[in-house]
């Protein structure tokens, strides 16, 4: 007995977070992964229409970042936003129902996979126009400051947003007006089929922050703890000093751009994908919590079972939810008299 605690103590310290936090971090990443694996199955069955962009491989970014936010902080994202939305605390059942286009979905089934909004957890939505939500995040940051609040906004976007003008407009604005925005670029090295080498003159995206005078740093987006500590520093700057940060999460999407590009095989090699899969954030963190003794294999199995049950329930919920009534086509918008 004594020997066991001895092993656990220094190991837990090495992990840098307590067992409860480790459990939550692992559970949330697994939840996102399972949610998306099931969504992919439902898409293949024709139950989900529209587009479906999976963040499989990138879960550590949403999870690590959200783990240092308060519930009243805000998050805003792209069309690859299932993970950001779930991490922020949305009900997986209602998120899944939205993907299905059903009436109990987060947006009454009218938005679909790319347009999840959840006011109850301050999730300001998925946005399908690349780069266009960055100025919105700046505006939310302005409003927080104007009202004297101390919340922060996390804005996720891809490497593909960087060549868009709105990225630069928003960076400048946030620096000029000193806004509490944490810019998190999920650099997975591809915008659809275009690699950053073919899209950007400067491949170190965080360096764009430097020219605007924004604290900026790269982080290992496959390491949930690295994300957590880096974002924690940025949150501190934003909350206390109203200072934006630009964080570049180096990550990788294991699947294709969308379900219509299942493998993403035209523009990248199989070897590259296989090599990147060795950095799987869930596998790495799983190994680390065991190694350090923070959690036991039985704990992990219990987490896994709980996650699987919750997602099965989410799928059943979405399946059972009816389609939105036709009249809803004309609601939530003004009408001519």
């Amino acid at each position: 007995m004594a020997r066991r605690t001895d092993v656990r103590k220094p190991a837990a310290a090495a992990l840098g977070v307590d067992a409860a936090t480790a459990r939550r971090l692992l559970a949330d990443m697994m939840l996102i992964r399972r949610f998306e694996e099931k969504a992919a199955e439902s898409y293949a069955l024709g139950k989900i229409g529209g587009f479906l962009h999976l963040s499989i491989g990138e879960e550590a970014v949403a999870d690590g970042a959200t783990s240092v936010l308060r519930p009243d902080d805000y998050a805003i994202s792209t069309y690859r936003e299932h993970g950001h939305c779930l991490a922020k605390g949305s009900d997986p059942r209602r998120a899944m129902a939205e993907l299905y286009g059903r009436r109990d979905g987060l947006c009454k089934g009218k938005g679909g996979s790319m347009h999840l909004f959840d006011r109850s957890v301050n999730f300001l939505g998925g946005h399908a126009i690349v780069g266009a939500h960055l100025p919105l995040a700046a505006g939310v940051g302005f409003a927080i400051k104007y009202q004297g609040g101390d919340q922060v906004v996390v804005c996720y976007f891809g490497d593909g947003a960087v060549p868009e003008g709105e990225f630069h407009e928003a960076m400048n604005l946030s620096a000029l007006w000193k806004l509490p925005v944490i810019w998190i670029c999920e650099n997975n090295r591809y915008a659809m089929g275009t690699s950053i080498e073919r899209a950007l003159a400067q491949h170190d995206i965080y360096k764009f922050g430097e020219v605007y005078g924004i604290p900026a740093e790269p982080m290992d987006g496959m390491d949930v703890l690295a994300v957590r500590t880096t974002v924690a520093r940025a949150v501190e700057r934003a909350r206390r000093d109203k200072m934006p940060s630009l964080l570049e999460a180096r990550t990788y999407r294991f699947r294709g751009h969308s379900m219509r590009d299942p493998a993403g095989a035209v523009y990248r090699t199989k070897e590259e994908v296989e090599r990147e899969k060795l950095r799987d954030p869930i596998v790495l963190f799983h190994a680390r919590v065991l190694e350090t003794g923070a959690l036991a294999e039985a704990d992990v199995r219990a987490i896994e079972k709980d996650v699987n049950d919750r997602i099965d329930e989410a799928v059943a919920f979405a399946d059972a939810s009816p389609e939105p009534p036709l009249e809803w086509l004309l609601t939530d918008i003004f009408k001519e008299d």
Binding site: M114, A128, I129, A132, G160, T194, L330
Partner: protein
């Protein structure tokens, strides 16, 4: 050759690039990937990355740079991945492409083509299903072309590339793979600004274009079978400049008109078409002109797409009301 619309457009691009080395293609993922809908497939391999250019994700830069190329005398054919993303470059189209010829008192021309997939019917979501031709049709200096099938798509694209003015070229996503048609090997052109009567009739005129043409034709068949009414069906092919003469001549004959489009009704192309018919054929009209269009709401996701986009029953209802007036 029997080709679908994707292959027919690809053929037009290939042959125009072979014919004229000033023609080049640029856009997001048009090269290595061959385009989201594969319209530019294989072009980069054939013509190299100097002429088939994968641009960064930057629509304003794609269009702005193309205007510059066109001023110098090149003939860029740009691709915007979905028409819903073109608001990111709308200012370049409106402020620059559309105006250079007039602004420079005719000294500079801006011969360029902007291709964009538009419209619903593929179970996509917001920003990926809208029909936005009215914005471009409204801008003086721009031509707005929308083919309805493989053969006219190919011929119109060739004409658009050789046209001295900027042309916005909309491709209905729902038509890309819908049908295969005999497309001649040798380059074929069709005049811009000219509509086609695709079915003759004397009782009413159905006016449409793009993916809605099929809906209009099917409605015409049903009217013939079930109502004994012969509808004339007009395929606009070019929305702007509008072929006002063809429209007026048809309505002078039939006295009745129904306009069908996927864009929301209010301030849409139907309004201009109706006004034009009023101006030229007022005394022939036997009934108010009807419009069948999308509702005045943003595009609603895939679950209710069928209820949003005009369909045959809605066209029939409008046609019967017109006939019974």
């Amino acid at each position: 050759m029997k080709l679908n619309m994707v292959k027919a457009l690809n053929l037009a691009l290939r042959q125009e690039m072979e014919r004229d080395r000033d023609v080049l293609v640029l856009g997001e993922d048009v090269g290595v990937d061959g385009g989201v809908f594969r319209v530019t497939e294989d072009l980069q391999r054939r013509f190299g990355s100097q002429r088939v250019i994968d641009s960064p994700l930057a629509e304003a830069a794609i269009i702005g740079a193309s205007v510059g190329m066109a001023l110098y005398g090149l003939k860029p054919v740009c691709e915007i991945q979905f028409s819903g993303f073109a608001f990111q470059c709308f200012h370049q189209i409106e402020n620059h492409a559309a105006r250079y010829r007039q602004r420079s008192q005719g000294r500079f021309h801006c011969a360029m083509v902007v291709r964009m997939p538009y419209g619903g019917g593929v179970r996509a979501l917001e920003h990926h299903s809208e029909s936005e031709e009215q914005f471009y049709a409204h801008i003086p200096g721009l031509k707005m072309v929308i083919p309805s099938g493989p053969r006219n798509a190919r011929a119109l694209l060739v004409s658009a590339i050789r046209d001295p003015d900027p042309v916005i070229f909309f491709e209905a996503k729902g038509l890309y793979h819908a049908a295969r048609e005999e497309v001649p090997d040798d380059p074929e052109m069709m005049p811009l600004g000219r509509a086609q009567i695709v079915r003759e009739g004397r009782d009413l005129t159905l006016i449409s274009y793009g993916a809605m043409l099929r809906v209009a034709r099917e409605a015409a068949d049903t009217l013939a079978q079930e109502d004994g009414a012969e509808a004339e069906v007009i395929d606009l092919l070019t929305v702007a400049p509008l072929d006002r003469a063809t429209l007026a001549a048809s309505v002078q004959k039939t006295g009745r008109a129904v306009i069908i489009h996927e864009a929301p009704q209010s301030f849409g192309p139907g309004a201009e078409i109706a006004a034009s018919i009023m101006e030229r054929a007022f005394l022939s009209l036997e009934a108010p002109i009807k419009r069948v269009a999308a509702y005045d709401v943003p595009f609603v996701g895939f679950a209710r797409e069928r209820a949003t986009v005009p369909d045959v029953p809605r066209v029939l209802a409008a046609a019967r009301e017109t006939l019974a007036f």
